[in-house]
């Protein structure tokens, strides 16, 4: 490519400033969203990973169990083994601050064992405290981050909730090795005593004897592990924790990619029409010696430049968005994966480069077809035909291609997830969009045929033009189709999801009033006496207690939630889906457990309870929108009999006739103190849950709106460019007697037919994409199903509005060309 020719092509970009700017903006937006999602999560993951590394210290292996911990007798067995050089027991409690909704990660440590394995956790007594203060049961040590977050200093008092009682602890020093993390450290024996966890440990970190390989160490120690307790390399634990947020991140990134694709469509529209307008210019350049290949490369370079500028702007905007989002929403964008860490944003050249390349590719992909079209035009013909917008007529109808793409999409949907990512689903979405674009000219022809009975000249002219130049429909309609498809797919998916969540909440929250020891954290619980007091509160007809714990079903997956509650033999209280099995020892698994571990109704499931394995039969699968890693429901009587754990975390209270929830809540507060319990009525929980749901999806509504605006810009840009190129046609029409209004009606009809085809295609493609999102993407990413609900009325209003706006955009875009004097417009033809 001769650089001297740069002004010929780049000058053209400058000459059509508005459309160039719109294309740049569209690409910048897609890139910005992608960059923001990526860098926020990288920052959060880095900080999270750093925290996990600091916590695991020098450990070669970690022994981990359920949330409720495991028997501390295992520590002595393991510590005395010849393979083990050093062992350090830990007991972690997610402790609720008394009278406060916040919680703090409290780690019980054995200071005599700590130094060799996790030196970073070593508590450092404050001035004048003496070394033995680390062993006193009422002393706590706070990391600098925790001191700052809680506003405490040496000598201050930290009050936590233990069971339903306040526990006042003296801040006796710091944990300088845990800078950047919010943790509290105290003596392990004190944690066991204060929090009703006598004889329990949650983790043992091990350093193996010098020279002993990891595999050999694991092989020797694994047989000692009781049921439900596993021996993991610290990296595995970190990877499992980080993997939890992966699907969420990938899905957000995919939304950004869709925005980027919409940007690519806009580049396509503007480039295609710029090529149509410049047909004679290119023919002239070809005539005076510009080679076909070089013309194509320069036009691709125009697209690439739009991509580079959009990409650079997008990267900058992305970092700005990331900084704002981190400040407002946190490292997991409010999804709750990385609580308690404060990520810092850092510039990542690799991420910036990848997204910049994506921007360039989007720009070039958008420019490719028009560039090929321009290079293939015969210069002799183009010079003779002049500048009229007859280009892209070659884009004929391709119903066969559409069927092929749709069939391939169906096949892609059958592919299993790759590392938890629904690659097949995303490929299917892309193929469905392509199928929609291929079918556009056919749709426009069918729509156009519907207008055949209308004899008005402007409408007949509009029909004739669309029939003669189907490529125009593709150029102007593709952006509408892509944005409408995205909006329709998201609308159906979100409506289905919201309705399903609403139904699910109604099923999962049957009681009138719910009581909790602590909303966050595990330090609040009800012992047998508290349970009796709750059940005996006047106005309570029945109290169902619920116990939460975790179980580890496999070393390859994060722990699964175990929920013990009162259940009928057929589990009818649960939102069950699919086949059910009658059994005397039932458990009900969530869809995530079914997907991740491959269990089905009728299968035997071995559950580790209190260190021993117990066999259950999977009686059914239930829908759970709360726990992505999976959950298992077990009747609480059976759980208590097998585990010996009498505690409960929540209580569902069914009220006596004539009692109100607020009156019973007031009595409970009176009995237990205002700051101890968390009380919520079912309606409140449901309302709050749906509010959180709506907030979570607010970002997708914003994206939809942006996509639709981009689609309309595409129509406006297309028609503006075409109108300018068709000024001689308009001039001729005005000469032979068409009024301005009639020319406007012709343009409006063209715009409405084009957008109508785009909107109809968008409805069909969007419907199909919503099925893919619901049945493939959501199922493989988050392992939850939902009932499909189509919001017909809002979709109809949306499509009608889109068509009307497109018609308006077409008329406004053509107004400039219509304003020109008819005589002037045909002057070139004299």
């Amino acid at each position: 490519m001769r650089r001297a020719l740069a002004p010929v092509f780049l000058g053209s970009l400058g000459a059509r400033r508005l459309t160039t700017l719109l294309s740049i903006l569209a690409i910048a937006l897609g890139i910005a969203l992608g960059v923001a999602v990526q860098v926020i999560h990288d920052a959060a993951l880095d900080e999270f990973d750093h925290g996990m590394r600091t916590l695991s210290g020098e450990a070669d292996l970690q022994i981990v169990g359920p949330r409720g911990g495991f028997d501390d007798a295992l520590f002595e067995t393991v510590a005395l083994r010849p393979e083990v050089a050093a062992a350090s027991p830990l007991l972690e409690v997610d402790a609720r601050l008394f009278g406060d909704e916040r919680s703090l990660r409290l780690i019980g440590v054995d200071v005599f064992r700590l130094g060799e394995v996790q030196p970073a956790l070593m508590p450092q007594p404050g001035e004048g405290q003496g070394r033995l203060v680390t062993l006193t049961p009422d002393s706590v040590f706070l990391s600098p981050g925790a001191m700052q977050a809680l506003g405490l200093a040496l000598g201050g008092t930290l009050t936590l909730q233990a069971g339903l009682e306040p526990l006042a602890l003296k801040v006796a020093g710091g944990v300088p090795g845990m800078a950047g993390q919010q943790v509290a450290v105290m003596d392990i024996d004190a944690v066991q005593r204060h929090f009703g966890l006598r004889g329990r440990l949650s983790r043992i970190d091990l350093r193996l004897r010098e020279g002993l390989g990891l595999a050999a160490g694991r092989e020797a120690l694994a047989p000692l592990m009781p049921a439900g307790v596993q021996l993991l390399a610290p990296e595995t634990a970190r990877a499992q924790a980080a993997g939890l947020s992966r699907s969420y991140r990938v899905n957000l990134t995919m939304l950004a990619v869709i925005a980027l694709v919409t940007g690519g469509f806009l580049v396509f529209s503007t480039q295609a029409l710029s090529v149509v307008r410049r047909r004679t210019e290119f023919a002239f350049l070809r005539a005076i010696g510009l080679a076909r290949g070089e013309l194509m490369r320069w036009l691709l370079a125009e697209g690439a430049i739009v991509g580079v500028v959009g990409g650079l702007a997008g990267v900058a905007l992305g970092y700005g968005l990331a900084a704002a989002a981190l400040k407002l929403l946190g490292g997991d964008l409010g999804a709750g994966y990385f609580a308690g860490i404060s990520p810092r944003l850092a510039f990542e050249p690799a991420v910036a480069a990848v997204f910049l390349v994506l921007g360039v590719l989007a720009g070039m992909a958008g420019a490719w077809l028009p560039a090929r079209e321009a290079a293939e035009v015969s210069p002799a013909l183009a010079l003779k035909a002049g500048g009229d917008a007859t280009g892209l007529a070659g884009a004929r109808r391709h119903p066969g291609w559409a069927v092929g793409a749709a069939a391939l999409a169906a096949v892609a949907c059958l592919a299993p997830a790759w590392q938890g990512i629904p690659v097949g689903g995303y490929v299917a979405v892309a193929l469905l969009l392509a199928a929609g674009v291929f079918v556009l000219p056919q749709l426009a022809a069918n729509l156009s045929a519907l207008l055949a009975p209308l004899r008005a000249v402007p409408i007949a002219l509009a029909r004739a033009r669309l029939a003669a130049v189907p490529g125009h429909v593709v150029v102007a309609g593709a952006g509408v189709l892509a944005s409408a498809a995205l909006a329709v797919a998201m609308a159906i998916m979100v409506a289905s999801f919201r309705d399903s969540v609403d139904d699910w909440l109604a099923r999962i929250l049957p009681a009138e009033l719910y009581v909790r020891g602590a909303r966050a954290g595990s330090s609040g619980y009800f012992d047998a006496a508290a349970q009796a007091r709750i059940a005996g509160t006047p106005g309570v007809a029945r109290a169902d207690f619920i116990r939460h714990d975790t179980v580890r079903l496999s070393a390859d997956h994060p722990p699964v939630m175990l929920i013990a509650r009162s259940l009928s033999p057929d589990g009818r209280e649960l939102p069950l889906v699919g086949r059910q099995v009658k059994t005397s020892s039932p458990v009900w698994i969530s869809e995530a457990v079914a997907d991740l571990f491959g269990y089905a109704p009728g299968d035997t499931l071995r559950l580790p309870l209190a260190g021993s394995p117990h066999d259950f039969v999977v009686a059914g699968v239930w829908r759970d929108y709360a726990r992505q890693s999976g959950a298992i429901m077990i009747p609480i009587e059976r759980y208590r009999a097998l585990s010996g754990d009498p505690l409960a975390n929540d209580a569902a209270l069914h009220l006596a006739d004539g009692e109100t929830a607020s009156a019973v809540a007031a009595r409970l507060r009176e009995r237990f103190g205002a700051q101890t319990l968390e009380l919520a009525q079912a309606g409140e929980i449901r309302a709050v849950s749906l509010r959180i749901f709506d907030r979570t999806f607010a970002v997708t509504y914003l994206l939809e709106a942006v996509a639709v605006v981009i689609g309309l810009f595409g129509v406006a840009a297309s028609f503006a460019a075409l109108a300018a190129a068709r000024r001689r046609e308009f001039g001729m029409l005005r000469h032979i007697g068409l009024t301005r209004r009639q020319v406007g009606l012709m343009l409006a009809t063209e715009g409405a037919l084009t957008a109508g085809a785009g909107a109809l295609g968008g409805l069909a493609v969007g419907g199909a994409i919503s099925l893919v999102l619901i049945e493939v993407v959501n199922r493989q990413s988050f392992h939850w199903s939902m009932d499909i609900r189509i919001p017909f009325a809002s979709l109809a209003i949306f499509c009608l509005t889109l068509v009307l706006l497109a018609a308006l955009a077409a008329v406004l875009a053509g107004r400039q060309a219509m304003r020109q004097e008819a005589v002037m417009a045909v002057k070139e033809d004299w």
Partner: protein, 225 residues
């Protein structure tokens, strides 16, 4: 030397219309001829064949010994780039380039450095009476001035053959006369072969020779000088 031999072009496949039927023509360097004829007789077709923008169904086009039929698309493109200059009725001056940039365009295509090409463009603009207007934009020019720019662009790279297709079709008679005189003068000064295709007898009269295209022959009409 330009030599057309038995040049034939048909449209519409077998049994279609034959526009040019075994046309012969031989022009020497420095000759400036006008080709006239009725509308649809094949003037533009002839010009496209001479320029290598279209392929004949029979016969050959040779310029300085190069037979165009031996060149592929890229070869023809290079050939046009080096040997041909075009002047069109619709000027085809690019609106987003300055006047000097428009004139320098053929030199850029030949890979010449920007500074030397801009110097040459400046000289050509001066030669067509637009000295000092290098940085001006096409939108500031009248039709006659735009065609002067086009003539400068057609000659800046010293082509062997200059093809002008109705170059005064968009101009009033006074400006048309000036432009035609300038075209003849610059083609002669460059020592190139000039072919002016027109349906205007006044325009044709400015050429050394006038040939009428009848479909199967180029018949001499008159000698003007």
């Amino acid at each position: 030397m330009l030599e057309l031999s038995q040049l034939t072009r048909r449209f519409g496949g077998p049994g279609g219309r034959t526009v040019l039927d075994r046309v012969d023509l031989r022009l020497e360097a420095g000759e400036y001829v006008a080709i006239v004829g009725e509308s649809g007789v094949g003037k533009s077709t002839l010009l496209n064949l001479v320029a290598g923008l279209d392929r004949p169904d029979g016969g050959t086009v040779k310029l300085s010994g190069t037979d165009l039929s031996t060149l592929d698309d890229d070869g023809l493109t290079r050939w046009r780039r080096d040997r041909l200059g075009f002047v069109f009725q619709a000027f085809h001056v690019l609106p987003h380039l300055t006047l000097a940039q428009n004139v320098a365009l053929p030199l850029w295509l030949q890979g010449q450095q920007d500074a030397s090409s801009m110097r040459a463009a400046s000289e050509m603009l001066a030669a067509v009476g637009l000295a000092g207007r290098e940085a001006g934009w096409p939108r500031e020019l009248s039709g006659g001035e735009l065609q002067r720019v086009a003539i400068a662009r057609a000659l800046v790279h010293k082509p062997r053959l200059v093809l002008a297709d109705e170059p005064t079709g968009n101009l009033d008679p006074h400006r048309a006369g000036q432009v035609l005189a300038l075209l003849r003068e610059r083609v002669r000064a460059a020592g190139a072969i000039g072919i002016l295709v027109t349906h205007s007898h006044e325009a044709a009269a400015t050429a050394d020779r006038v040939l009428r295209l009848t479909g199967d022959a180029l018949v001499p009409v008159t000698n003007t000088q």
